[in-house]
C-alpha cells in the first residue's frame, strides 16, 4: 500500500510541479518555462541565492502576483472538492455522490445570490462579505439536511440523498428566481453559480489552505473506515466501526471543506464527482490511496481547467464549471470504456 502510494503520489506531485510551470507560462504575456522556473526557485528560502535575478520586475510581478495566486487557488479548490467527493462516495456507498450531494452548493449559491441581488458585495467586511455569507449559508444547509434526514438517531443513506435532493431543488429555485429578477446588464448571479477564480489574490488561498490541510488529514485518517463502509454499514458495525459517528463526522468535515471551496470560487461541478472515479480506475478502490490521490488529482485537474478557462477564448473567460464539465465528461467516458474492455478480457 505504502509503496503504491509513494509511486502514484510521487508521479502526481511531479505532474503538479511540471503543470505549475506550464500553466504559469500561459497568458497574455508569453514567458519561457526556464525563466518561470528560475523565478520560482529564486523565491525559495535557502536555495534562492543560487538563482540570481536575471529578469525584469514585471516578469516576476506577472508570475508571482497575477498568475501564481490564481493557479494555487485552483489547485486548492480542486483538491478540496475531489477530497470531499471521495469521502462522500466512501461513506454513502453511492457512485453518484459528490460534494454537493447534501445541498451545500445550493445553500452557498443562495447566500451569494442574496448578497449580489441586494448589492451588498462590499457592504460589511469588504471583499469577504460574499465568501463568508456563502460559507455560512452552505453550512446551514448541511445542518438542515442532516436534521431532515435524521431518523431515530441514525442517518440512513437514502434519507440523506433524498433530503439533499429536496434541498437542492428548493434552494436552486430561489437562486434561479433571484437571477431572473436581477436587472443588471451582466448576470453576476449566474456567473457566480458557474464558478470562477478570476481576480482572487493570495489571501483567498490562505483562507482555503487550512480547510484542505486539516480536512484532508481528517478524511485520510478515516480512509480505513471508508473501506469498511464498502462492506455495508451493518457488517462495518460488526467489524467494530461506529458507523453512525464516522458517517456524521466524515460528512460534516467533507461538507465544510466543500463550503470553504465554494465560498471562494463559486460552484464548480464535476471535479468532486469525476476525479475520485478517475483515481479509482487508475489506482483501485482502496480509500487509503483514493483519498490522498484524489486531492492531488483534483488539484491537477482544476489547474488545467482554469488555465483553459482563462486562455481558450482570447479576451474573455469561460465559466470554470463549463470547462470542468466539457473536459471531465469525455475523459471520464474514455476511462470507463477502457475499464470495461479491460474487464472483458480478463473474464
Amino acid at each position: 500500500m505504502i509503496r503504491r502510494l509513494g509511486g502514484y503520489g510521487g508521479a502526481a506531485i511531479l505532474l503538479l510541479l511540471v503543470s505549475l510551470v506550464l500553466t504559469l507560462r500561459l497568458g497574455s504575456v508569453e514567458l519561457p518555462a526556464g525563466k518561470i522556473a528560475s523565478i520560482l526557485l529564486h523565491e525559495l528560502p535557502g536555495i534562492g541565492r543560487w538563482f540570481p535575478q536575471t529578469w525584469d520586475d514585471s516578469a516576476s510581478q506577472i508570475v508571482l502576483k497575477v498568475r501564481m495566486p490564481r493557479i494555487l487557488l485552483a489547485a486548492l479548490v480542486g483538491a478540496a472538492l475531489a477530497l470531499a467527493g471521495a469521502a462522500f462516495q466512501g461513506v454513502l456507498r453511492n457512485p453518484l455522490a459528490d460534494p454537493f450531494t447534501l445541498g451545500v452548493s445550493s445553500g452557498s449559491s443562495l447566500g451569494a445570490a442574496l448578497i449580489i441581488f441586494f448589492g451588498l458585495r462590499t457592504a460589511w467586511i469588504g471583499q469577504w462579505t460574499l465568501p463568508l455569507t456563502a460559507f455560512v449559508t452552505g453550512a446551514l444547509t448541511l445542518f438542515a439536511v442532516l436534521a431532515l434526514a435524521r431518523d431515530r438517531g441514525r442517518l440512513p443513506v437514502h434519507g440523506l440523498l433524498l433530503a439533499g435532493v429536496v434541498m437542492q431543488s428548493f434552494l436552486g429555485a430561489a437562486v434561479t428566481f433571484l437571477s431572473a429578477m436581477s436587472d443588471r446588464p451582466v448576470n453576476e448571479i449566474l456567473y457566480w453559480t458557474l464558478g470562477s477564480l478570476n481576480l482572487r489574490g493570495w489571501d483567498y488561498s490562505a483562507i482555503l489552505l487550512p480547510y484542505v490541510l486539516i480536512g484532508g488529514a481528517f478524511l485520510w485518517a478515516n480512509a480505513g473506515a471508508m473501506n469498511l463502509f464498502a462492506l455495508g454499514e451493518r457488517q462495518a458495525g460488526h467489524l467494530g466501526l461506529d458507523t453512525e459517528r464516522t458517517k456524521s463526522a466524515v460528512l460534516l468535515v467533507a461538507t465544510l471543506v466543500t463550503a470553504a471551496a465554494v465560498s471562494v470560487s463559486g460552484v464548480i461541478g464535476f471535479v468532486g464527482l469525476v476525479v475520485p472515479h478517475m483515481i479509482r480506475l487508475i489506482a483501485g478502490p482502496d480509500y487509503r490511496l483514493l483519498v490522498p490521490l484524489s486531492a492531488l488529482g483534483g488539484a491537477l485537474f482544476l489547474m488545467w481547467a482554469d488555465t483553459l478557462a482563462r486562455s481558450l477564448v482570447v479576451g474573455t473567460e469561460i465559466p470554470l464549471g463549463v470547462v470542468t464539465a466539457f473536459a471531465g465528461a469525455p475523459f471520464f467516458a474514455l476511462l470507463l470504456q477502457r475499464n470495461k474492455r479491460g474487464k472483458g478480457e480478463t473474464a
Binding site: 485518517a221 473501506n227 464498502a230 462492506l231 451493518r234 457488517q235 458495525g237 467489524l239 467494530g240 479509482r280
Partner: protein
C-alpha cells in the same frame, strides 16, 4: 488472551479437527478450562444470555420478551417461518438492535457495556450474502477482518503474527490462490468462503451466521457449514446460526430454537424440536415425514408437494 501466540502448524496429522488449531494458543485454552473448572470469573458464565430481552420496531413486536441461554462451545440453530423474529433475535445478540426491554449479556457482561471494537474481537457475524462483489482483492477483504485489532493508523501490534494468521486462514480455506483476485471476479460460493476468512481474522469467541447458505448451491452450503463445524470443534467456538433449511440445521446444530411470532415455540435437541407436529403447526404445512438413517445421524424431513396444510397461508407483512 486477546493476542494469542499462534501455534506453529507443525502437526497436520490430526486431520480435520486440527485444521483450525492455529487460531488460538494452547495456553489460552488451558487458562479458559482452568477458569471453567474452578467455577470462577467471567469464563464460567454462559456465552450468550438473554433475560426478558425484546425487540420492537415501532408498533411491531419482532421479538417478545425472551429468556435464552447459550453455553460456551454450543452450536445453535434459530429456526422459524419468515417474520418470526429470527433475524431480530440475531440482531439483539450482535448488538445491531438495542433491546426494547430486558438485557442481553455476553460472557456475563451486558452487551451495552462493550466497546465496538472490543465486541468485534469477541463476536463476529457472517452475513447472508457473503462479501459484496467489490473491486477489492480477497487479501484486502481478509485484512478488513483485522480492523478491531488495529490502532487508528491501521497498524497491527504484531504485524508479522497478523500476516502469518491471515496466510494460515487463507491456506485452511483454500483461498491462497485467490488472494490477489478481486471479489467481483469470484463466484458466490467463493465470496462466502472469503467472508468466512474475514470473520476468522476477527478471532471471535462467538460466531453468528445469518442464513449463510441462502444463495449457495448444495456444495457450498455443505462447505460453509462444514468449515464452521471444524472451526468450532477445534476452538470451542460458540455458534448461533439463523437457518431456513431445517435439514441442514438438524445435521449441524446441537440445539435448535424454534420461533413463532417472536416467541419461543420449541427448544432442544433436533429430535425433540423437529417433530411432524411442531414443523407442520408452526410453518403451516402438512406434517412432514421424519426420516432417520444411521449414516446421517440426525432426523431429516421430507415435505409433500403442495403440502400447505390444505389452506393458503394468509399474507402477512413480508
Amino acid at each position: 488472551m486477546k493476542w494469542p501466540d499462534w501455534r506453529k502448524k507443525g502437526d497436520r496429522a490430526g486431520g480435520k479437527a486440527s485444521r483450525f488449531h492455529f487460531m488460538r494458543d494452547e495456553g489460552g485454552e488451558a487458562e479458559r478450562d482452568a477458569a471453567v473448572s474452578s467455577g470462577a470469573g467471567e469464563a464460567d458464565s454462559p456465552a450468550i444470555e438473554l433475560v426478558g430481552a425484546a425487540c420492537r420496531y415501532g408498533p411491531v413486536q419482532a421479538v417478545r420478551p425472551l429468556d435464552w441461554t447459550v453455553r460456551r462451545g454450543e452450536f445453535w440453530a434459530v429456526l422459524g417461518p419468515n417474520g418470526s423474529g429470527k433475524s431480530s433475535l440475531l440482531g439483539l445478540v450482535s448488538g445491531a438492535e438495542r433491546p426494547s426491554a430486558g438485557v442481553v449479556r455476553l460472557g456475563g457482561r451486558p452487551l451495552a457495556d462493550y466497546g465496538r471494537r472490543e465486541l468485534a474481537r469477541r463476536l463476529a457475524v457472517l452475513p447472508q450474502e457473503g462479501l459484496p462483489p467489490l473491486g477489492i482483492t480477497v487479501r484486502d477483504a481478509l485484512e478488513l477482518g483485522r480492523f478491531p485489532y488495529r490502532d487508528r493508523f491501521g497498524r497491527e501490534r504484531d504485524p508479522a503474527a497478523a500476516r502469518e494468521l491471515l496466510a494460515r486462514i487463507a491456506g485452511r480455506l483454500e483461498l491462497t490462490a485467490l488472494l490477489p483476485r478481486r471479489l467481483d471476479e469470484l463466484s458466490g460460493g467463493q465470496r462466502q468462503r472469503a467472508a468466512l476468512g474475514q470473520v476468522m481474522a476477527q478471532q471471535p469467541e462467538i460466531l453468528l451466521l445469518d442464513e449463510p447458505t441462502s444463495y449457495l448451491d448444495i456444495y457450498y452450503q455443505l462447505d460453509v457449514m462444514e468449515l464452521v463445524r471444524e472451526w468450532r470443534e477445534a476452538e470451542g467456538l460458540t455458534v448461533v446460526a439463523v437457518l431456513h433449511d431445517l435439514n441442514l440445521a438438524a445435521q449441524y446444530a446441537q440445539r435448535l430454537l424454534l420461533l413463532r411470532e417472536g416467541r419461543r415455540a420449541a427448544e432442544g435437541v433436533p429430535e425433540a424440536v423437529l417433530t411432524p407436529a411442531n414443523v407442520g403447526g408452526i410453518y403451516g404445512v402438512d406434517p412432514p415425514i421424519v426420516v432417520r438413517r444411521e449414516e446421517i445421524g440426525a432426523p431429516q424431513l421430507l415435505f409433500r408437494a403442495d403440502g400447505r396444510g390444505g389452506s393458503t397461508k394468509p399474507l402477512t407483512d413480508e
